[in-house]
Symmetry: C2
């Protein structure tokens, strides 16, 4: 199952991650799963995925208690006849809040605002901060039955794929 995926598979995965901007964040709440919509930003090498969330949100409270999360990025539904053919990846990761004084903050804020041009107001709210998702592994479904389990290293290999 951990056989290295071929170059085409890695390219498809990179295309998916770079093509979408919103994922589904799975957290643990009262011992059961919770899923929340979450805009995200990926590091160029897929070594980290960033969220910008409010500490007032349930999912942030959940991550403070239990850092193990799952983050699913699915190809936007284009209303094709067979939705099982849509590409999707689930990244299991450890979540950690970025300290507000971090050296990364300014760089991330610029990248976030370039991606989400209307999110300026969130940076004026004291309850918002960046959270880093550090991938443990990824499960990529390139289409029906085309399932690939990747470790964090293979996920980073995908980031080096030539653009499609």
């Amino acid at each position: 199952m951990q056989r290295a995926p071929d170059a085409e598979t890695l390219a498809l995965l990179a295309h998916l991650v770079r093509g979408e901007r919103i994922g589904a964040l799975g957290t643990l709440r009262g011992g059961a799963p919770l899923v929340s919509m979450a805009p995200f930003l990926a590091e160029e090498d897929f070594s980290a995925f960033w969220l910008h969330v409010s500490r007032l949100a349930w999912h942030t409270q959940d991550m403070l208690r239990e850092p193990r999360i799952a983050f699913s990025i699915a190809q936007t539904d284009d209303r094709r006849a067979d939705p099982y053919a849509l590409a999707r990846v689930t990244i299991r990761a450890d979540a950690a809040q970025l300290p507000s004084e971090s050296a990364d903050t300014a760089r991330l804020k610029r990248a976030w605002l370039a991606r989400f041009t209307n999110a300026q107001t969130h940076f004026q709210l004291a309850d918002f901060s960046f959270w880093r998702l550090a991938p443990r592994d990824a499960r990529f479904v390139a289409g029906f039955g085309r399932i690939h389990n990747l470790n964090a290293k293979a996920l980073s290999a995908a980031a080096k794929s030539p653009a499609r």
Copy 2:
């Protein structure tokens, strides 16, 4: 928080649920969350949400062990400047496999194939079956900061909203 949502909110929720056909399923796997893309079918009165899944899939194995799941339905990303304005609902539910000889099976199969016209082959595979998600509650985010917590009864009230 459990104040009954107004008619407009209920109508927005019904519009969201009826307008999308794919959700993100949160299950518990090894004590941590897993999130998987999942096509769904809603009962007309939102008293149940149906999945058609393979017992070979991780999420199905998870539901067999722990029936408490979360199911998130998010408005398709239309690339608007502010993705936080997208509507989304997370339904926390109890999952149960529908016995294959159930009286509901034929009706559901017809409805499923009308919705997912290319899914015929899944019904020829012995490992696929319907799973019923019975809502416990729902958290509806109608847009940034517009959060509504609903019990199962309020979710069903949304289903009775006039079409928008």
